[in-house]
């Protein structure tokens, strides 16, 4: 099971048949394990890592440090939920240290992100303060390096 996840984490487009071949399993067996993993929310989604910089679409990413007041009985979960339900929020983590939540937000422009912080995030009752950092350049995300793929510089034949 772990090896199926390892393969899918690297390439979510790979077919059940191909996984079966790689692991010496039956394709039906792989399918049923994969479906079970989906049902159990172990596999959450099959996303694609895109370098938007190379497209015409303008995007801005910001990492926002948020300090909040936890709520009685529900701790941070309820506050976090109110924040991560905004579609602009791509990731949301509870942190140890000086602040409580890391919120990663994507928008079309800096202005759009700034407005999100000013109008939606900061005014929330439990939010004490925010500190917004804009991403200038992405080098690596989700284990994938963004620069051009390396050439295979090996000799043509090695015995």
């Amino acid at each position: 099971m772990e090896e199926i996840l390892e393969i899918l984490e690297k390439n979510s487009r790979i077919s059940d048949e191909e996984i079966a071949l790689m692991l010496n399993m039956d394709a039906d067996e792989v399918r049923s394990i994969r479906e079970k993993l989906e049902k159990e929310n172990i596999i959450l989604a099959y996303n694609t890592i895109i370098n938007w910089e190379k497209t015409k679409k303008e995007t801005v990413t910001a990492l926002i440090e948020v300090k909040v007041t936890p709520q009685r009985g529900q701790g941070f979960d309820k506050v976090a939920e109110r924040i991560y339900k905004f579609p602009e929020v791509k990731s949301c983590y509870l942190m140890s240290g000086d602040f409580d939540l890391t919120v990663i937000v994507e928008g079309k422009s800096m202005k759009e992100v700034a407005l999100f912080v000013a109008q939606k995030l900061a005014p929330l009752e439990s939010v004490l303060s925010t500190s917004t950092h804009f991403v200038l350049k992405k080098y690596k995300a989700e284990g994938t390096i963004f620069e051009e793929k390396e050439q295979d510089d090996r000799e043509a034949v090695i015995l």
Partner: protein, 392 residues
């Protein structure tokens, strides 16, 4: 003076490779999918490269001790104990060499000369025979058979032994066949050798790359330990081919002899590589495990691909090679490889490059990306279907 006449005949007459023509052809076809490269496609893990950079920053740019940094020999000693249950004294029984290749060369130079015989199972790595011939000794070939899964049989060994036999080269896991020798296979070889004065040079450079059972060395048998020289290195286990670093473990007298040849020929192995190797042995296990899992997946895809193409393909359980039989196509190994390259743009190596008995086989290496392997297998299936129709 005619320089050509000055060259020692044994060197002059040694072909640089039996399949030079095919090499040249592969170099011409630039956009081919290459399954002909016997070298990891992974780069050296970053933590190892980083350790080398750090050693340079610290100014570790001088000669190391001739036998290699003591810290590295100690790490090698721990590693072979931990991985293979072999115990060697880092002070007297281990030498760091310039790749496994140098270890093979200086071992042979320390052991054999004119009048001696060296038993070399084939198909196998191309350096054993020339290195033997250069010493003046005589190579004696044993032809491994696909019906034995390319394992050396005790009967074959007995037949090859004469009173001039001094060395047996035991190349497992094997390049080019991917064959391994299990404990019970080695037991039979050990039984043949236990009362004979024959040194085993056990080339275990692919020891990390086994699929299923863990690698066993013939040196694991107590009666064989002092007769065996274990050769291993960093190229295959840690994807460090270009660093040129290997090692040999064995009897102190043999290591001392090899030390002399090594000392006068090349002083010491590259210091930067040795610092990188210390890091590899200390913290490299997780990378190796992940790499082996990936190779194993590719191996299964490739074996399945050849079988779907209608070619007999024994299950290789080591190294990163598949060695299918191509006789059903009616072509020779070289013809198969040349036509596959020209018609489908896939490069594999003719089996006869690894000894005459490799004829009828080809070597395909799965140190290539999964996408390339899947595509190459489709093309090979096209190729065999096309030519099986021609046969009918």
């Amino acid at each position: 003076m005619n320089m050509r006449d000055m060259i020692l005949p044994v060197v002059r007459d040694m072909p640089s490779s039996g399949i030079r023509k095919f090499f040249d052809l592969v170099n011409e076809v630039k956009d081919a999918i290459s399954l002909s490269i016997g070298e990891p496609d992974f780069l050296t893990p970053w933590h190892i490269r980083e350790a080398a950079i750090y050693s340079l920053e610290k100014g570790r740019t001088r000669y190391s001790p001739n036998a290699g940094l003591l810290e590295l020999r100690k790490e090698v000693s721990c590693y072979v104990k931990r991985k293979y249950g072999l115990e060697y004294d880092p002070e007297k029984e281990i030498i760091i060499t310039v790749g496994g290749s140098e270890a093979i060369d200086i071992a042979l130079r320390s052991l054999v000369g004119p009048g001696d015989e060296v038993i070399i199972p084939e198909p196998s790595f191309v350096a054993y025979k020339p290195c033997t011939v250069f010493t003046g000794a005589t190579p004696v070939t044993v032809e491994l058979k696909v019906e034995h899964d390319f394992r050396l049989q005790p009967e074959q060994l007995l037949e090859a032994i004469t009173d001039r036999t001094k060395v047996l080269i035991l190349p497992y896991p094997n390049n080019p066949t991917g064959a391994v020798m299990f404990e019970e296979d080695l037991r039979k070889i050990a039984d043949v050798l236990k009362d004979r004065d024959i040194v085993v040079i056990s080339d275990e450079i692919y020891a990390e790359l086994t699929y299923g059972k863990r690698h066993v060395s013939i040196a694991n048998f107590p009666e064989m330990k002092e007769k065996t020289l274990v050769i291993n290195g960093f190229s295959k286990a840690f994807s460090m081919t270009g660093w040129r670093l290997g090692y040999a473990c064995g009897h102190p007298s043999l290591i001392e002899a090899m030390y002399k040849v090594h000392q006068y020929a090349i002083m010491c192995s590259p210091t930067t590589s040795q610092h990188a190797a210390i890091e590899a042995l200390k913290n490299g296990d997780d990378h190796v495990d992940a790499m082996v899992r990936e190779y194993n997946r590719r191996r299964r895809v490739m074996v399945d691909g050849f079988r779907r193409a209608g070619l007999d393909c024994f299950e290789p359980l080591g190294a990163f090679y598949v060695f299918p039989c191509i006789r059903t196509t009616g072509m020779s190994s070289e013809e198969f490889c040349e036509r596959l390259l020209m018609e489908e743009k896939v490069a594999v190596v003719p089996g006869n490059a690894f000894g005459k008995c490799g004829e009828g086989f080809v070597r395909a290496c799965y140190a290539a990306s999964m996408e390339n392997i899947i595509e190459a297998m489709k093309r090979i299936q096209n190729f065999t279907i096309k030519h099986s129709k021609e046969l009918v």
